[in-house]
């Protein structure tokens, strides 16, 4: 019954093209809700009721039955995909309002269709085990997200970014295909994920894992495979960036986790590899985020950072398994997996609120914003909530997952051998620096966008967005606070998921009293704030409270907007000490000694991503030089092309005659 309804919803998605504009959204929402309801029931069944694998026959496929297989890991991903897609589709209504008259019926239908299919394909990605079906649905996921990215296709830049995204996704797919085919030809077992276990049992897993890691890593955005991310997120509409950053890049993590479940030996190298790449992603991601001026590009770099934190957890977990330190394994995987959920929450919240700011001010350049907290108080407070959570500060959810990773590290220091200890030293100092840099970055972006005085007249006409766009913020905000204050209720399902990797999960049971203490401490913290607030209210009732201008050395004639710090100046002292990574170039003309009456001058700063420059742009330029030389064959004359065909036939005939092919 449920499977029929699920299939019906998938087929009905094509109806979107035939219904009038004003009903498209509601029809899409209905289909989303059906899919969410059914798949969530499956996930809950697998996670809580049978605590094991749920198998559902889906389609006949190449002579066999294609099954949907839902174990605890899939169930976890189904739930976060559903939650973020739900908030995304609610948010989309308000966000797409200005486009309603601009876009034609087919264009809008195509957008909702792709949004629905992105949701469906993400669900199927985590449910298919057959390799061919997996690759097909993986491809559909990339395609539908590509069409979502190029929603504003009238801008040339958007199309260029979209194609860049599409090409990089296809490079990823090539690696995945290679990996699957390699495993298949080496072992001649079935062409599916389950077939990998045969390969891994008899071969050194590292090289095949490396292929999978590159393939999935391009989707996840690990450095140095991340260069599509900072372009695609700003170009796409905010509900799309929220869903893409919140859950779609996690499909890469899912792939890596899924492959890891089949590897049982020689795990140390793999763990170390994941850990090093993740630490680099975390540190470089957040450093590059600090120098961005485009709020959505900044958030995109933070996705790379958080993928790094997730990877640190997973890498430590793998090292814990191979070194036989259960507490490191369980808390590493536990923290990493919980951070997947946490990141999907606060990152979508940040993208939605940044999208609301964009919708009301029509700019993503933070240097033109300022003082928005007075115009859009709710949006500002939700952005602040997301910023506090993503910086890993208590009492919010980001802290809980980072705390689990930290406590795994500190608890295993003594058991570990020398080399592992040194790895742990680098990991926890790395994590501490990442946390500090995240605070640096989010104090910057929050205060430049929402605090102080408006920096341009774009802010003047901004008003608070309507309730429909705030509703998803409330849903996500509730989850963030819930995980932050009562993490214990999430530990039961989390330990079921972690058991897929580590078997026993005693360490999670052992951390529950600690988490209860954290809840208690968070409670006391809030009560203390309340008590001090009451004290101040009582004190200030008897005193006079006045308003005046900000202190400016007693000089009040200046334009307050010009005297503020800008994002560039805020980032500058960090740029000074990290020139090699952030690669910021300043563009200005020096004053000459003879300039008695200087003219108006300009000052510009640019930052470019060294990985993108050296790994993508430079090789592509080199290839282009070569390809341009080859272009002499493309003369545009039909006679020449016929000649090429003739030559080709002749060559083939000769080769066949000589028995060379």
């Amino acid at each position: 019954m449920d499977i029929i309804l699920f299939k019906a919803a998938i087929i009905l998605s094509f109806v979107l093209f035939f219904i009038p504009k004003q009903f498209q959204y509601y029809f899409g929402l209905l289909l989303h809700l059906i899919i969410i309801a059914i798949s969530s029931i499956w996930a809950v069944k697998s996670l809580f009721i049978i605590s094991g694998k749920l198998t559902i026959a889906f389609l006949p496929f190449l002579g066999n039955i294609l099954n949907l297989e839902i174990d605890q890991l899939s169930a976890f991903f189904i739930l976060i995909v559903n939650f973020t897609s739900l908030t995304g589709i609610i948010y989309a209504k308000g966000y797409l309002q200005p486009y309603f008259n601009k876009k034609s019926k087919i264009e809008l239908a195509f957008h909702f269709f792709n949004f629905l299919w992105l949701h469906i394909s993400m669900l199927l990605v985590v449910m298919f085990r057959d390799a061919l079906a997996f690759l097909i649905i993986w491809e559909i996921m990339s395609l539908s997200s590509f069409f979502l990215v190029i929603f504003e296709s009238e801008k040339k830049e958007t199309i260029r970014i979209g194609i860049n995204y599409l090409i990089q996704m296809h490079i990823g797919v090539v690696f995945l295909m290679l990996a699957f085919i390699w495993a298949y030809t080496q072992t001649a077992s079935e062409f599916s994920f389950d077939g990998l276990s045969v390969y891994f049992a008899s071969h050194n897993p590292f090289l095949l894992f490396l292929l999978f890691f590159i393939g999935f890593g391009i989707k996840a955005g690990f450095i140095p495979f991340h260069s599509w991310l900072p372009h695609a997120h700003p170009a796409s509409p905010s509900h799309v960036s929220g869903v893409m950053s919140g859950v779609m890049i996690k499909m890469g993590i899912y792939g890596i986790l899924r492959v890891l479940t089949y590897i049982n030996h020689d795990l140390f190298d793999i763990g170390l590899f994941i850990l090093i790449i993740s630490l680099a992603s975390g540190l470089i991601g957040v450093s590059l985020a600090i120098v961005q001026h485009d709020v959505k590009k900044l958030l995109a770099y933070h996705s790379i950072e958080n993928i790094g934190i997730i990877g640190i957890g997973i890498g430590l977990g793998v090292i814990g398994i191979s070194e036989n330190i259960p507490v490191l394994a369980v808390l590493g995987f536990g923290g990493g997996i919980l951070h997947i959920l946490n990141h999907s929450l606060f990152k979508s919240l940040l993208f939605y609120t940044a999208g609301s700011v964009y919708k009301q001010t029509h700019t993503r350049n933070i240097e033109q914003l300022g003082g928005l907290i007075k115009k859009m108080p709710k949006t500002a407070l939700f952005f602040l909530l997301g910023a506090l959570a993503i910086s890993g500060l208590p009492p919010f959810n980001g802290f809980i997952s980072e705390f689990m990773i930290y406590s795994g590290m500190f608890k295993s220091l003594q058991e570990a051998n020398l080399f592992t200890d040194i790895i742990l030293l680098f990991s926890f100092s790395g994590l501490a620096i990442i946390g500090g840099l995240a605070i640096f970055c989010f104090t910057k972006v929050f205060s430049i966008v929402f605090l102080g005085t408006a920096r341009s007249d774009k802010v003047e006409h901004a008003t608070e967005v309507d309730a429909a766009m705030i509703l998803p913020d409330f849903l996500i905000g509730f989850m963030i606070v819930l995980i932050g204050f009562v993490p214990v209720i999430f530990m039961q399902p989390l330990s079921a998921i972690v058991s897929v990797f580590t078997g026993d999960t005693i360490a999670i049971q052992q951390i529950i009293p600690t988490l209860n203490n954290i809840s208690l401490s968070s409670g006391i913290f809030i009560i203390l704030i309340g008590v001090i607030w009451l004290l101040r209210a009582w004190q200030q009732k008897q005193q006079s409270i006045k308003q005046n201008t900000t202190w400016g050395c007693a000089y009040t004639g200046a334009n307050p907007a010009l005297h503020q710090y800008t994002a560039t100046s805020y980032a500058d002292n960090f740029v000074q000490i990290s020139k090699q990574i952030v690669n910021v170039k300043k563009d200005f003309e020096n004053f000459e000694e003879t300039d008695i009456f200087p003219k108006e001058r300009e000052f510009e700063t640019h930052s470019s991503d060294i990985f993108e420059d050296n790994l993508i742009i430079r090789p592509v330029d080199k290839i282009l030089i070569f390809l341009k030389k080859i272009a002499v064959f493309q003369t545009g004359k039909i006679q020449h092309y016929l000649l090429y065909a003739l030559l080709f036939i002749a060559v083939i005939s000769i080769l066949t005659y000589l028995n060379w092919i």
Binding site: L388, F428, T443, S521, R536, Y565
Partner: protein, 304 residues
């Protein structure tokens, strides 16, 4: 609970001693040890002026900041007196809680829309970010040495160990003194006496706070000193001592710590602003040396 009260009590005269020492060395008339307390009481009797640029962030920040520091105080054990709250990994919560307070202080300074305050906030953000690893590596070394992950157990087992502990303790005290200086924005990263807004860090961040709010921020600063003093004193106080020995030792160390800060401030000039990051990263380097020493002591690195 006793440790909480002890820290509260010692915090009252802590800053008083610093200014007394500094006045003595500068051959000025010494103020009373309770002068900072009188100042705060006076502030509590005053009204407040809020800048019209500011928003709700500016109003709630002193509350959150004060609450975060008070909360952090609850975690500190003194000798055999447990902290009010103690659990595995409490130092992570402690460090992130202080970071939470600092996050709010930074955005509150930015909220005023003043270039001066933003400059201070910006420096504070950078310095506190750079100092974070030193604290974690230090605690990591202790966790490696004692196989425990809460403040209370860390200190308990530190003294139960061999006499090699002293090697760690001395370097740890050095690091903690300077972490305290950076966290409280004192010499050599920041000069609280300076009269030019452009050269300040912490002082300039609170230019627009007044009345009750400013009082809270002052108290939080005292408490922060006393917290780090508490952390330092635990390296010396043996848990086997009788309780009044422990309390006397704690108060003695707090006074000594305050005098050291006074001496450092009286004789040392502030670092050049741009040299500060290097100087702060040096603390992490020393912490790494402690970590390696611990690896040798625990015989993970075998020397022969």
């Amino acid at each position: 609970m006793i440790s909480f009260l002890l820290i509260l009590v010692s915090s009252i005269f802590f800053v008083g001693i610093i200014i007394k020492v500094k006045a003595k060395i500068a051959a000025r008339k010494m103020p009373s040890v309770f002068q900072p307390l009188f100042d705060v009481i006076r502030l509590f009797k005053k009204g407040a002026i809020y800048s019209s640029t500011t928003s709700v962030i500016f109003k709630i920040t002193p509350l959150v900041y004060m609450a975060s520091v008070l909360m952090a105080t609850l975690f500190i054990p003194i000798g055999s007196q447990k902290g009010f709250l103690s659990f595995e990994g409490d130092f992570v919560f402690f460090a992130y809680l202080l970071a939470m307070g600092k996050f709010m202080m930074i955005i509150a300074a930015m909220d005023t829309g003043s270039g001066f305050e933003a400059m201070g906030a910006n420096r504070e953000a950078l310095y506190s970010m750079l100092v974070e690893p030193a604290f974690f590596i230090l605690i990591g070394s202790m966790a490696l040495f004692t196989h425990n992950t809460s403040f209370q157990d860390l200190y308990m087992n530190l003294h139960a160990g061999t006499e090699l502990t002293y090697i760690i303790s001395i370097a740890a005290i050095y690091i903690l003194i300077y972490i305290a200086m950076i966290e409280n924005s004192r010499m050599p990263v920041d000069d609280p006496k300076t009269h030019l807004e452009l050269t300040m860090v912490h002082e300039v961040m609170v230019l627009d706070n007044s009345g009750f709010d400013l009082g809270l921020i002052h108290i939080a600063t005292w408490l922060k000193f006393a917290i780090y003093g508490g952390l330092i004193s635990n390296f010396v106080i043996q848990t086997t001592w009788i309780w009044y020995y422990q309390i006397t030792a704690f108060l003695g160390i707090q006074i000594l710590f305050a005098i050291i800060i006074g001496l450092v401030e009286a004789f040392r000039a502030r670092n050049k602003m741009e040299k500060n990051p290097q100087w702060i990263i040096m603390l992490s380097a020393i912490a790494v040396v402690i970590f390696l020493t611990t690896l040798i002591i625990t015989q993970k690195i075998i020397l022969n």
